[in-house]
Amino acid sequence: MSHNFRHWPIIVILSIVSLPLIIMFAFQIIDTFTTHPIDSMIPDRITFEQFSFLWDEAETGRANIWKVTLNTFIFATTTAVVVCSVSMTTAYALSRLNFPFRRFFLGGLIILHAFPTVTLIIAIFLILQIIGLYDTLLGVIMVKAALELPFGIWIMKGFYDNVPWEIEMAGVQDGASRFTVWWKLVLPQVQPGIFALMIFSFLSGWSEFLLPQVLAPGNDAQVLSTYLTALIADDTKIDFALFKAVGMFYAIPVIAIYLIFQNKLMNIYGGGTKG
């Protein structure tokens, strides 16, 4: 009992501080499913009208929502897969193999990780135009994956560094090739890392706005974040209800992923190599 008592002031303070956030979230949810009179904030009616963009024919000049969602999904998934597979192999090499310029690569990785990538955007824009990938999904995926890589490699290197050398030596002594050792013995130890990287790079791709906005502004390669801005860009007739509903739709996968995987994500550092 006394145990709980000592905690309640902290709980109260934290609640007050996080109140604005909670209100924001609550309002976003309530507002998308209700209507309210113009002069009041109190909802008077539950409705699903605002979600009609999901089944109605798209307005002329606007992309189909499902096409955009598919684009976003492809963008996020491909980015995650590319980032994971490249990080998985590169990080192993950086962590374990002795090759020329290893220190140089490690240093470069940290610098790239810390580098403000926005400053590169004009150069990237020009390059994409030259090689003909401007305004394509493939182009944005390549750029996004490349920019995510330093982080991914760095994280994975940390995981590899924690795998004891002896496990690899034992594998080699047991007659396994270096590749088998990596695939069968080392990779399972860093699995939590790969999993986390997969989730994080997927979410990062899902919420990416700047790159698609600048590098693929057309309707064909549009993703949800740019779709959303396009809705309010046209300021002659801003439909806030639609904007909020699309925002809700956009956020649902993120929330779902966190809810489904939260236990696994929280256990990542504890679960490391214990098996």
Binding site: E166, I167, M169, G175, Q189
Partner: protein, 348 residues
């Protein structure tokens, strides 16, 4: 299978860790590589199993030169200090891994794993993951995994270092039993002299990358080649006194004279090594001193005695001597067991 190291040299960058080492391990023998931390025991072991490349000299298994063979082709079983079990596999899968890599038939794998599990007494544990096994059990699994391929050679790097005292005693006997039953040639790396003496046929004592003595355990204890060996072996350790050689007398710093030391006349100054069991009341009298410290070890008691001139001697005796700190004693030496060294530490 006989292992021969010929002028084996190992350097890391520009530090030479081992230079021109020669060593032969006989077929079916268990040899201990004993030495203080950092003397190059693990380095030698890793060179034999192929993890380290040799920088000079040769390593022979039987008559075959394996110096340039990769680990995978040497057929050596290794037990690492941390056991290095694969944490995501259960004991069965751990032991089966070398066989799977070799692409044995599933039925063969099953039979061999169960055979080796029986030998190492882990049949009931095969379903468990390493995290669910005790230290001693993990050790047995590691041993089983190292042995399941029927390697020519078994290498053990400080296999008992992570176990508690009682388990260590048990596993000492177990490892020796398994080695004798399989008749495998084995090298045991350890810095624990008791392990080396109790488990192995011969001991190679290393110091700073060199083998200082290679002998049977009892020989090495009774007949150390130099002061380092005498000091390293024996627990509680030996004590040394500076002595003078005058006429045919050996004079200890407290003035005690020992007759007829059988030394060349040219030797003037030397050191006498006295093991704790060679000093005590059972050897007569003549050496006077004061009890400075008593350590009760249960069955035995260890005394630190300060002689009249200030030098110290150690004595170990069965419990029950009615002495306390500050008491005067007058004890004697077992003259046959004194070890004499010159000032450079070489045995006389």
């Amino acid at each position: 299978m006989q292992i021969t190291l010929q002028n084996f040299t190992k350097t890391f960058d520009d530090v030479t860790v081992i230079e021109d080492m020669n060593l032969t391990v006989k077929d079916g023998e268990m040899l201990a590589l004993l030495g203080p931390s950092g003397c190059g025991k693990s380095t030698t072991l890793f060179a034999i199993c192929g993890i380290h490349r040799v920088n000079g000299g040769k390593i022979l298994f039987g008559d075959r030169d394996v110096s340039d063979l990769p680990s995978q082709k040497r057929n050596v079983g290794v037990v690492f200090q941390s056991y290095a079990l694969y944490p995501h596999m259960n004991a069965y899968e751990n032991i089966a891994f070398p066989l799977k890599v070799r692409k044995d038939k599933p039925a063969d794998i099953k039979r061999q794993v169960h055979e080796i599990a029986k030998l190492t007494h882990i049949e009931e544990l095969l379903e468990r993951k390493p995290g669910q096994l005790s230290g001693g059990q993990q050790q047995r699994v590691a041993l089983a995994r190292a042995l399941v391929r029927k390697p020519d050679i078994l290498l053990l790097d400080e296999p008992l270092a992570n176990l508690d005292a009682k388990l260590r005693l048990e596993m000492r006997a177990e490892i020796r039993r398994i080695q004798l039953e399989t008749g495998i040639t084995a090298i045991l790396v350890t810095h624990d002299q008791v392990e080396a003496m109790s488990m192995c046929d011969r001991i190679a004592l290393m110091h700073d990358g060199k083998i200082v003595q290679l002998d049977k355990p009892s020989e090495m204890y009774n007949n150390p080649a130099n002061k380092f060996v005498a000091d390293f072996l024996g627990n509680p350790p030996i004590t040394f006194l500076d002595a003078k050689h005058q006429g045919d007398l050996l004079v200890l710093p407290n003035g005690h004279e020992i007759k007829n030391p059988k030394l060349a006349a040219s030797i003037q100054s030397l050191q006498v090594g006295i093991r704790p069991e060679c000093f005590g009341p059972q050897f007569g009298t003549g050496i006077k001193g004061v009890v400075k410290f008593i350590e009760k070890q249960g069955r035995e008691e260890l005394f630190d005695i300060e002689l009249t001139d200030g030098s110290q001697l150690r004595s170990i005796q069965p419990s029950g001597a009615d002495l306390s700190i500050g008491d005067d004693v007058d004890w004697g030496l077992s003259l046959d067991d004194l070890l004499l060294f010159d000032l450079q530490g070489e045995r006389l």
